[in-house]
Symmetry: C2
Subunit: 204 residues, 2 copies
């Protein structure tokens, strides 16, 4: 293959060619981009490789299948839910937590996740349900426990409130009202959920 590309200096091709973690990041981003534009059925390993300016082999080397790649891309793209800022009261903390969950579900990953769940077969869907559980629900429950624990220390939550049923109420209601009722979650709806259901369960 003769042409100007072959005579380009090493500096240019080195700058274009990514490696290691930078390449992996580019591949995962490209996968998320593909999911957002052409969806699960339209996504191909070749298309993802092209989007990451790399070869198909570099993709397959790390991700043996389309499912493996998409699971990692979705996970990597979800906002981290490492901690809820201390907002001064359990009500405000819970509100902040709800907003974090909403942010995750309305992130590019969140949208892609929901779209993918509609497109793929049931066996593959299981793996994507795991992404939701590991990436959003489980961290969400952990954050609820932290917020309630903080409230107990502060004195605005009764001491027995850290039981598993109470900690499940927020994730359960968010999931139920979203999936079954098709509800949208604005700040007003979060406030109603917290005031009508959580505060009576937590107040001393």
């Amino acid at each position: 293959m003769v042409g100007s590309r072959w005579t380009a200096g090493p500096a240019r091709s080195a700058a274009l060619r990514k490696r290691g973690p930078v390449l992996e990041r580019a591949i995962l981003d490209a996968a998320l981009e593909q999911l957002s534009t052409v969806g699960w059925s339209g996504l191909t390993m070749e298309g993802v490789a092209a989007g990451a300016h790399t070869g198909k082999a570099a993709v397959y080397r790390r991700w043996p299948s389309k499912e493996d790649l998409v699971v990692d891309a979705l996970q990597a793209g979800l906002p981290r839910m490492d901690g809820v800022p201390d907002c001064g009261s359990v009500r405000e903390d819970l509100l902040a937590l709800c907003r974090l969950v909403r942010e995750a579900m309305f992130s590019r990953s969140g949208f892609a996740l929901r779209a993918v769940l509609h497109e793929c077969d049931q066996v593959t869907a299981e793996r994507f349900h795991d992404v939701i559980f590991d990436g959003v629900i489980q961290p969400g429950v952990e954050r609820v426990k932290e917020v309630i624990g903080r409230g107990i220390e502060r004195g605005d939550v009764r001491s027995g409130a850290l039981d598993s049923y109470v900690c499940d109420v927020i994730p359960a209601m968010l999931m139920y009202r979203t999936k079954v009722c098709g509800s949208e979650w604005g700040d007003e709806e979060f406030g109603e959920l917290i005031d009508q259901v959580m505060m009576p369960l937590l107040s001393p």
Copy 2:
């Protein structure tokens, strides 16, 4: 076709041949039976017809597709949730209600429904989700409202308790803990849910 069957008296064939609602009932039962034994993929209109001792045409005349037939069979097979007996207190009424929901989900229809959801494609699954919503969830929410209303009249529930978030908590928690946590629902778990979450929300 020559043989003893053709010479059987009209009385025998009339007794075997069902009509009208009896035939429809037999077809729906046969469909549920097929679902329980060979599942969604194994179910055929021919197999259902044979199970109902009728011809394929009789099935297709009423149900143009496999999905239509299975939706009706599942719906018809779910226990009715028309009313919760008055057990004397809101706690006991809620316990009775939870048992009704469990009965529905563990009925032959309930098992078949869950199995089918795993086997079929996403578009078909939507129709079966509707069966769960129309046949179990929606009636369940109505029964929660009745039980809470009864409790308000009795005086063991605070007057403002009939708000939609509170009424959604039981279905939300049952669904969440079943789907996400894979929990089993014994009477002890129902009791914990009611005592730890519902009673604080309902008590005057």
